[in-house]
Every structure is written in C-alpha cells, then in structure tokens.
C-alpha cells in the first residue's frame, strides 16, 4: 500500500534531474552556435573568442533560459488561478496591456530609463490582467473554451487600441519589436532585467502550495484557511511583472506559458511543489531548442525564437484541444 506512495515521491525528482541533465548539452550547443564560428579547440587560447562568449553567447543563452523558465512559470500560475488549462499571459490580455503601458511611457517620457518603462508596462499589465480576472469570473467555469476565447477577444481589443495609438504617433516599428520575441540583439548589459524575472519565478516556488490550493477553487482555499485574495493578488502581480520584463527585454513570446505547463501537467499533475521546477526547466529547455533552431535553420540568417516556438506551440496546442475533446 505504501509502495506507490513512495515511488510517487521519487518520480518528480527523477524527472527534474532528467530535464536538468538535458539542459547542459543544450546550453553548450547554444554557446557554440552563432553567426561567427567558435571552434572549441582554440576557444580558451583565443581572447577574441572569449570576448564573443562573454559579451554575446553567454548572455544570450542565459536570457533564453531565464525567459523560458519564467514564462512557463507565469503560465502555470495563471492556469491555476483562473482554473482553466487554456490561459496564459498571451491569452488574458496581460501582454497586450503591457504593450499599451510601454507605448504610453514611450510617448510621454521617451527618455525614461528601462526600469521605469518596465514598471509602466507592469502597471498596465496588472490592470489588464485584473480586468480579465473580473471578466473570467462571470463565465461559468464549465465553459472551458469560452474563457480563453474571451481572453483572446479582450487581448485583441487592447492590441487594436495599441496599434491605433502607435499608428497615430508613428511608433508602429516599436510595436513590431515588442511583438516578436527574439534574442539576436541580446548582449551583456542589455538583458540583466531577465534575472529579475527568474528571481520572481523562484519566489513563486515558495508559494507553490498556496497556488496549488488556490487551483482547487475559492471554497476549498477558504476551508483550508488560505487568504485566497492575497494568493490571487500575489499571482497576478508575479505574472504581470514577468510578462512585462520579458516584453521589455526580448519581446512577446506566446505559447510557452500555455504549452509547457500542459505538457508537464499531463505527466505529473499540478502539485506545484513537485512540478514547478520541472515546468521551469522544461520551459527553459524548449525555448533554447527553438532559439538554436532559429539560428541554424537559415544560417547565417536568424528566425526569431518566438516564431519557431509559435509553430511548435500552435501544433501542440491544437493537439491538446483535440485530445481533450476525444477524452470527453
């Protein structure tokens, strides 16, 4: 009787180890692949190669890993709080609202430091996500697809506003940059905000149990003495900050927050204390694969990692949707 319980307790650690072990060779490949070749043999003796490594390749790899992990964590938090498998910051108006905030600060204070821009984006994202949560509360929870659909419509509306403002103000090219997440411009000194996103994802881990309980619903949370409103607030703030940090530094990366948690949940469920590290590692790894593919597929040109992930993500998303219907 205790056998399955014991093996269950060990399985998550094994899965985490597996994903983590896969990350190491991926990161090595990421360090070596790029516009200019970095031959392993001469690497340590060639100061110029070391320079490329320190200024470009290591920051880029770190940026991809941090972004992938943080976005996947933001996605799973969103899914538990909305109690819907098909939401993520890209389908709840969070990213679009962040862009509106960025647009506003670019218009009003073009010279503002990046931290101020990020905070403006985060404030707008927070407001946008809050409105979505109020909206989602009015939709009966058994209407599983209605919630992400309303989110898409809502996000589309915000995007339309942003596009209109951008056209009027002649800032359309900014919008284009924010909308397509890619890492080719990442250099040392231009990505460090992402460590903050990684830190937030780590912070979320300390509230893993609270998020898991909140995912069981308001009534169960209240019954267990959880301050449901606070957990909700903490989650929304985390998700808004992470999304804004990512948009400000690399641009929008849809689907990571959707696909990765769904894949992990299929295998190991939603007990975040077990699954959150795996979600983060898998998000980091998948995004890194997409970024490497983007670098080599049309070498020496680059395909944005967001685009590669979008194709992969859309396919997995469709599979999840159809698979759900087949299961009833």
């Amino acid at each position: 009787m205790s056998d399955p319980a014991v093996s269950q307790a060990r399985a998550p650690r094994r899965r985490l180890l597996l994903v983590a072990v896969l990350l190491v060779p991926l990161a090595l490949v990421s360090l070596l692949v790029g516009a200019g070749p970095l031959p392993l043999g001469t690497l340590l003796s060639d100061p110029q190669a070391l320079q490329v490594l320190a200024v470009s390749r290591i920051p880029r790899t770190a940026a991809v890993l941090l972004t992938g992990a943080a976005m996947a964590v933001a996605g799973v938090i969103m899914q538990l709080l909305v109690r819907n498998r098909f939401v993520e910051p890209g389908t709840t108006g969070t990213s679009e609202a962040a862009m509106l905030g960025l647009l506003a600060v670019t218009l009003l204070a073009p010279g503002a430091p990046i931290l101020v821009k990020m905070l403006a984006a985060a404030g707008a994202a927070l407001a946008g996500t809050g409105v979505f949560m109020l909206l989602a509360r009015r939709i009966p929870p058994h209407q599983v697809l209605l919630i992400p659909l309303s989110g898409l419509v809502y996000g589309g509306l915000l995007m339309a506003c942003a596009t209109f403002i951008a056209i009027e103000a002649g800032l359309l090219q900014y919008l284009g940059v924010w909308m397509s997440g890619e890492f080719s411009g990442i250099l040392a000194g231009r990505y460090e905000l992402l460590w903050l996103a990684g830190g937030l994802a780590l912070l979320a881990y300390f509230a893993a149990d609270q998020f898991t309980i909140a995912g069981l619903g308001r009534d169960v949370s209240l019954n267990l003495g959880l301050r449901y409103g606070r957990v909700l607030g903490f989650g929304i703030v985390t998700v808004s900050l992470v999304s804004s940090l990512v948009i400000v530094t690399v641009g929008m990366l849809p689907f990571i927050g959707l696909v990765v948690p769904n894949l992990v949940s299929r295998l190991m469920g939603d007990n975040l204390r077990e699954s959150l590290p795996v979600v983060a590692a898998a998000g980091a790894g998948l995004l890194l694969v997409c970024d490497i593919l983007g670098r080599v597929l049309r070498y020496p040109y680059e395909i944005p990692a967001g685009t590669v992930f979008g194709i992969f993500g859309a396919a997995v998303f469709l599979y999840l949707l159809l698979g759900r219907q087949a299961n009833g």
Partner: protein, 252 residues
Amino acid sequence: MIQVSNLSFGPAANPILQGIDAEIPAGRVTALIGPNGAGKSTLLKLIARQLTASSGRIRMDGMDLAQTVPAQLACKMAVVAQHLSVASRVRVRDLIGFGRWPHSAGRLGVADHAAIANAVELFDLGDLQTRFLDELSGGQRQRAFIAMAYVQDTDWLLLDEPLNNLDLHHARNLMAQLRHLTELQGRGIVIVVHDLNYAISWSDHVVALRDGKVAFQGPVAAAATAERLSALYQTPVAITRLGGQPFAQYHR
C-alpha cells in the same frame, strides 16, 4: 454549539434565507433536510463563510463567526461542498495532505503523515491514492474530499450531501465513520441529506428548511414525525420500525 440567529441572505424583495433561527448541538450528528432549493446549501455556505449574510449572526462555540480570521476558522471547522468541480490535476494523497495545511502550513510531520495514512485507510482510498482527481469517478472524488476534511481534524465537520454519489457500502461506511467521530471524539457534524432513512437512523438532531425558513428542528425522535415530514416534502411519509430502527416509507 452553532447558534444561528435571525439570519437572512439574498435580496430583501426575494430572500433565499429569511430570519433563520437554529441551534445545532456540539458533539452530535445533525441532519439538515428539506426540499430542493430550500436553502440548505446556502445555510451551510454561510456557516462556512463562503457567503456573507445580509443580516443576522452565526456563533460557533461562542465565537462570532464574522469576527474570526480564515486561518483560525480552518482549525475549527471543515467543509465539503455539494458540487466538487475540479479543474486541476492533483493526486488523491496530495489532496488529503492539504487537509493538514491549517496545522502544518505545508511541512508535513510524522503525525501528519500518520493522519493521512489513516484517512486513506478509513475511506478506502488505498488503490486510488496516487491517481489524479480529474481521473476519478464522482463518488471516488467525493470520498477523497471527505478524507481531506477528515484529516483537518476540526471540532466541526460540515458535509453537503456527502452521500450523493456513494454506493450502498461506502454510504453506510461514511455514516458509521461520522457516528464514530461524534461518539468517540465529540465532533459536531452537520450533514445535508435527502435520504430520510439515513437522516433518521444515523443522526441525533434535525433541522428542516423549507422556502428559506426553518420548518422544524429538534432531536430526531421528537421532531421528525411522519406528519411534519409529509408536510415538509408534500409527500406522504409513514414512519414504521424495522429491526428496531425507525424506517421512513415514502417510495410508493
């Protein structure tokens, strides 16, 4: 004792509950009965503070429930809702473990693990403990949630139609466990039931609601008479005795 005084809920023009005065004794099993829509679940949610009354007061063992904080209340009462909608994939054993949250805040000790193992045994969940909630049948899921409430180890246990999805064996087993809890540990238990035979043969006390008001209440033997039950459900109910137990006959 849970003391409900002059409790109302819902819009004043069309209240769902109206001027409820009820006393639910501590250390007893109390059946909350009444027709569909009478307001049983609403009353239970008000006691659980999932809803806020428009007027009136609820005291639990002398504490005014409006003055308590959630964490304090979670050590005092456990609630299982009528509709258990589950959107996330949590394993049965993990769910039961969350029942210890009010006491352990996530750090399960030896005693906590013992309590969880005990609940798994009592509610016959041994084969299901590593399964995900969203892959269980309705009755299995209900047993898992009841087990979670059980390990919460509270003075009060509030169950909304716990027998709803259970088969004969598990329904009877649950009632026996609840009796056990009151008799050996002095817990106060409130259950919403529709099956009159379960109500009259397993509970000590009854509170009957109809149209948002108390129809009658009191010790089962005195209060739950054939006439009152017939009027409550607008259905002829006869009470006979079968093998020494009261038996309600209403099937035909």
